[in-house]
Structure formats: C-alpha cells, structure tokens
Amino acid sequence: MEALSLSPFHLDVLKEIGNIGAGNAATALAKLIDKKVDMNVPQVRIMGFSEISDVLGGAETPVVGVLLGIHGDISGYTLFLLQESAAHILVNLLMGKDPYDKFEYNDMSISALKEVGNILTGSYLSSLSNLTGLSIMSGVPGIAIDMAGAILSVPAIDFAATTDVVLYIETEFIEGDESVIGGFFLVPDSASYTKLLKTLGAMC
C-alpha cells in the first residue's frame, strides 16, 4: 500500500486545528496564572526530521519536554516543549512568584511543569478531536529536562521510521512583557497517521 502523504489541503486543516488549539492553550494558561495571555498566530510547519533539533534555539538549548501517550481512535504520543528559561517563568507565575525568581527543581515545581504540559497538550488535542470527530485520550505525563536535540530525538526517530517529515506547531504566548514559545508535536503511530490523514482529507 502506498503511504499517504500530507497535501497542502491537509496542512490547511492542521493549521486551523493548530490555531484553535493555541487559542485554547492561551485561555487555559491565562486561567492557570490568573493573567491575560495573548498568543500570536501559531506557525504550523512541516519539516524534515533532520531540521527538528533546530527548533527552540538549537540542539544544545536546555528545554523542558512533556510527553503524553495518546490512545482512542488514534494512538501514539504528543510532545510539548518549552525552553527551560521560559518554563521557569511560567511556573513562577503559576506559583504567584515574580517571573524571574530563582527556580529550583523539586517535586512541587516538577509536577507544576508536568501539569502545564498536560493542560496545554490537552488544548491542542481537544481542538484536534473536536474538528476531526476522532476520540483522543491522553495518558499520564512524562517529563524530561535536557538538551533540545536529545529530547527531540524521541519524535525524530519515530518520524524517521515512517514519514521523514514532522508536523510542528509553534505558538508564542504573551503576557505583558513576557513572551514564551511553546512547541507541540503530534506523533501518531503509522496506522494512526494514515487514519488521521484520511479523516482530514474527508473534511473538504
């Protein structure tokens, strides 16, 4: 069977899903930190897996990655990434502190980071689910704080095995003078990838 590939039409639908998802994410974030949060129109990009480690400032940039397994009508996982410095600002705001307060990794801050990743991922997933009609559930979040290249190798490997291209949604969240870039990857397994494209293709 010939593998389905992403068409400009698929990309348009995914952009719309990205837009709505990012809007939901900004709203969720605003509730979390009890401040008004704006977002810029997200960039939805298809890129080669080899370019993947250049997102969010390069392969050696420290980032926080939150990974959630997904199941339901499609299975695989999602990965949400924030630059480590941005993640610290977010968690400080979440805890009612000054954004640039000293940040320490402990059970509390780690679980706050997981929760931020969990909630923002949920925003993208519910937009995907609402627009496609696919039922998508997510599992328990896992977290890694390390070099961007190393964390991004996880989705890169899965894309390298199946499609060689990566769907990446980048959103800029803005609160006052602070701006935070979040990166979102959806990594379906190969059967789910086909199913997803078919579903998107039927939406024209």
């Binding site: 392969a59 890694a144 190393a150």
Partner: protein
C-alpha cells in the same frame, strides 16, 4: 596546527583525515558511533537513529540505521586510506529520555539502537573499546583524531572522556 571541527547531523555520517575533530550535538536515543584507525588516525562518526534498515520501508538514507550506517562509514574510511583491521569503536548515546512504568517499544528505541550497533560491530570484528550509553540524559560528543579520545558533555552529568 589548525583543527577543523566537522558537524555530524542526525542520520548523518562523516569522516576526516588527521588532524580533525568530529562532533554531534544533543544525542538522545540515537547512538553516536565513533570509529578510529589507530595507525592512520583517520576518524569517522555516525549518528544513527534506528537499529535495522530492513525493519523499515523508508530506508534510502543509509546513515539512519546502525547496520547500513556502520558499513558505509567503514567503506568511506577505508577509501580514504584507513584499514579495517586497525579500526576500533567507541559508543555514546542510546538514552531513554522519558521513563514510564509501561514503556512501549516505540520509546525503548535507545536500548535497541545500542544492541544493534554492538551486534553489527561484532560481526565486522571491530572491537568496542569504550562506551557511555543508556541512562536518561542527552549527550554532546566530540571526537579527536590526535588520540582517538571521545569527549562526552551532558547537562547535569558532567563532562567525561572515554
């Protein structure tokens, strides 16, 4: 003596004559395979992502896989004057970046990459003289032709030479 630093990307491989340095940034579950000809000091580095080329249809890029990547790198090195019987190997990477109680095969790829790499090198009779593999953290590596040392840089786990 001016050292040239050559960057090796994901699913990529390079080699260089002495003097030279090869580097790859942010290895996660991928494996960096560093080969060193002890006589000519020719060095080669492959950054592989997956274990076996036959397990995936999408296998045109040989540098993506342990089996085809190692073979190609050795061929490139011997074409430049290295001899297979003088080549030794050092390995880094193969981490599992996310840990879950129920780890699916999809996420266990680091371990499988290391296993496949070792199997291929053994078949080709290339001795593995040192390795820094596994764990749950990323590694940036630099490989020097002068003495075949491999530097491993991490966030939170220090710098080491193997």
């Amino acid at each position: 003596m001016i050292d040239n630093i050559i960057k090796v990307g994901m699913a990529d491989l390079k080699h260089t004559l002495h003097p030279g340095t090869l580097t790859t940034l942010g290895l996660g579950s991928c494996v960096g395979i560093a080969l060193y000809d002890t006589k000519t000091k020719i060095i080669g580095l492959a950054h592989i992502m997956l274990p076996w080329s036959a397990q995936t249809k999408n296998n045109a890029n040989k540098a993506k896989f342990a089996d085809t990547g190692i073979e190609l790198l050795i061929n490139n090195m011997t074409d430049s004057g290295a001899s297979k019987s003088n080549i030794v190997a050092k390995l880094a990477g193969g981490a599992q970046m996310f840990s879950f109680s129920s780890v699916s095969d999809m996420l266990r790829v680091g371990e499988r990459n290391v296993e496949a790499t070792k199997e291929v090198l053994q078949k080709m009779r290339i001795p593995i003289i040192s390795e820094d593999t596994g764990g749950n953290y990323g590694r940036t590596i630099e490989f020097y032709s002068a003495d075949g040392r491999l530097m491993i840089k991490t966030i939170g786990h220090g710098i080491s030479y193997i």
